[in-house]
Amino acid sequence: MIAGLRRFVRRIANALTPGRAEADLAREVAAHQALIEEEYVRRGWPADEARLAARRALDAARAKDQHRDARSFVWLDDLRRDAAHALRDLRRSPAFAGVAIVTLGVAIGASTAILAFVDHVLVRSLPMPDAGRLVRLYESNPAEDRAREMASPPNIADWRRETKTLELVTAVGGTSVTMTGAAEAEALIGMLVGPEYFQITGVRLALGQPFDSSEYQSFANAALGSFAIREPITSPASIIISHAVWQRQFGGAADVVGRTVALNGNAAVVRGVMPANVFLDQSAWGTADCWIPFVESRLTQRRFRQFLAIARLAPGVSVEGAQHEMNAIAADLAGRYPAADKGWTVIVSNLRNSMTVESRRTLLILMGGVGCVLLIAVVNFAHLLLMRAAVRSREMVIRIAIGAGRWRLFRQWVTESAVLSVLGGLVGFVLALWVVPTLTEMAPADLARLKEVSVDARIFVLVLIVSVAVGTLAAIPSLSNLRDMDVMLLRSSGASARGVRRLLRPTLVAVQVGLAVLLLVGTGLIGRTLLAVKSLDLGFDPSHVLTFGTDESRLTRYRDLTATLQFRQDLMTSLLTSPVFEAAGVGAIPLFNKVADSFRIEEGTTSIEGNVNVPSPGYFRALRIRLVSGRLLEESDDRGADKVVVVNRTFARRAWGGADAVGHRLRHDMDSSPWMTVVGVVEDQRISALEAEPPAMVFIPYCQSTVVSIPNFVVRTKGDPAAAIPLVRDAVRRLDPAVAVSRVATMDERYHRVIAPREFNLWLVGAFSLIALVLSAVGVYGLVNETVTSRTPEIGVRMALGSSSRQAMLLVLKGGLSATLIGLAAGLAAATVVTRSIQSMLFGVTPLDVVSMSAASLTFVVVAALAAVAPARRASRVDPLIALRTD
């Protein structure tokens, strides 16, 4: 078998690098013949007859052919020779080669870039061991309209105990801790993990060791998970820090493992450092800065559904099998704990799919878009080949006449086309190498698995395969031209196609136009979507607004609400002494966090769902929230005063219909919650999500609320809000150096982060449209040009008979633009069908949008007209005498 393999390799080597094999063989055959000749001479034959006999005994030509066939692969040999020939040929027509390579290069480059995204995000398995067996478990209560929720730790623990189909189940939660004792006080986002986390992710710490089993029971660690701990804490907590925190807080010191820091004022030991690229570092609270052992036994609230549940299927078990078992386990739990679990089931879903489900549709749409571009480019390429075939038709005819095999010529033609397209593919690959890093920077940060996207060897192989396929396909239309060489032989004039083949070129152009129009309509829709989103009335003024949060409540010093309130008040006062700050307030950060709650009104019997905001009076000033009736909250609404609230329009409408809300009373939907009087109604704000309808909201004065406390600040600055950040940090540090400032961002930044995905989509689809537009314009130009050339004699006749140059121009334009118009109509028709599938990407605009379609059509008609002008003018300048002479 090895011998067979050896031979195979030798044959390939001989095919690709012929070397001196031919010369050696010639020498050997000649020597062999000489020996035969010598033998005949020895037997007494005359010299010349001996030579003839030797030639008969050893047919040199046949021997060489057989040798050649045996020593290499004939088809590979021919391929090599054809490819070398093609390259030489191309060097002699640089313009043709250049245009073809650039056209294909740009299209293949764009396609490769999108392919890189699709491959890494949707196709490849997650970078964890046994990734194919990883699943995510959701809790689900369809009756309450909660289809996919996170899970609660007691439920997760029960699943783990009772399952047989899942071999590992881990709970992942989030928390936030303030760390002091390193470079400076910082609020860290912590990831609460169970022991199975390390097994499931297979993560290898850069330094240190994963937590040991005792750490998953310690009170200190439970306290970090913000669970109330009454037992005395005797041993330090443990954390594993992220690579970034290690660098910025510990300077990348090699001895960080074992160092003690303070978390929320209590001692904690650093157990290890995560590697720079941790895959599973997103919890419900954000990107993890540190990992903390999750003390499952301390969180017994079965209704606290704030944890991710990730599991690994046992070998041989399918998702359906696990789902089946979990249905039974969930039903059992619902029976045992009806208060918490009644009506709740479990959904088991492949982890990779569940992570990428939002990105999937967008990526597939982008793939469709770039596919159109590629198709247009391939059509252009096919055109170029057609033109080239026409130019070389005479040469081909002569070669066939002197005996060249037709099949051989076809093969050469296709090889030449494939060589061109492979060169285009290489150019495209290099282009993608450059474009993809830029795209990953521009892409919205919440695109799943964005960190993994890159262009690598696997994609290179795909590009090569696609290029060869493209080249082969594009050569086919011109092959039919070659096939009728006999007919051409009989013609004296240049070949002009007849019948069906005459429609080939206009049809191809119509296809190009249709695809380009389709992309243009898509761009129009996405552009209008972005405009619609940007023109949404936020209900507040985001310019010159800085937002940040402090976590003073974590420190023991501020456990008392009065102390916390005093701290916040002092901070706002301190900030307002500086002329930089126009207004400062405590409250929910718009587009960032929301707290939902339910309320009851005096008049009604059912509860009303709404959002809770707990602002200081300065909040309204900082955000410039507009008052509709009554008054805003004021400083006088403090601890001792009457309990008041402000509501927004939506809440007022939902609770009291059209009546003025001022004077009515409401309370939290909890028994013994005090009644609060509505003193004012404000305009709706899009505080929680930009594109959703503004939620009903109740504003409770921060001094009066005993239920909810929001440690976030919103300040309005005179100048650039980003420049005020150091002032904020200074003010906090002066008040209390142990308090960390976090969640710092200007309102403009937050806003842009929210609309970034839509802008990204527009950039990409817009780029595709532009490329498609240019390529189709080139196609139209080529079509009109060819019309002029092939109809020059006819034009000459017409002009000789008296038609004007303008009429000649119109004649040519009619031919060229009719294809364009047909393509336009087809493209619009296709758009009505296709745009329905991108509805998920749209906002504020229907798929059948007349404005977008008209704009797209108009754009294309203008561009096509421009493209057709130059060749059309050539038609108008045809000199009838010259035209009639050349035939």
Binding site: H32, A57, H67, A70
Partner: protein
């Protein structure tokens, strides 16, 4: 070309057996050049040496690419240049294996065929 009378039998040597015969010849007779091999073939198969010596070349290429023989340019007794082929160690082993297989096959066929009366 026409020929009166009977044609000398021309054994159509199937590919596999030609390779085996070449290996066997080189093994028993030492390094040979192509012409000498053809002569040996004539002896074995009783075919005249006048035609078809070219069929050796693909067989030689196959064997050489498998690493079972190795070619080297040397001088003949009459001081002419010729490419001599010698069997390699791997070739000897392959020869044994192939010979075994042929023997077993022919033994089996012999047992299946009815005995000549």
């Amino acid at each position: 070309m026409s020929s009166g009378g009977t044609n000398p039998p021309r054994v159509e040597l199937i590919q596999g057996s030609l390779d085996l015969i070449v290996l066997s010849a080189l093994s028993s007779m030492g390094p040979l050049h192509a012409y000498a091999l053809a002569a040996r073939l004539e002896q074995i198969t009783d075919t005249p040496l006048t035609l078809n010596q070219g069929t050796l070349y693909p067989a030689l290429v196959r064997l050489e690419q498998r690493g079972w023989i190795k070619g080297q340019w040397q001088k003949t007794e009459s001081n002419r240049d010729a490419k001599f082929y010698a069997i390699t160690a791997a070739g000897s082993r392959a020869l044994e294996r192939q010979a075994d297989r042929w023997r077993r096959l022919s033994g089996l066929v012999n047992r299946l065929l009815p005995r000549k009366a």
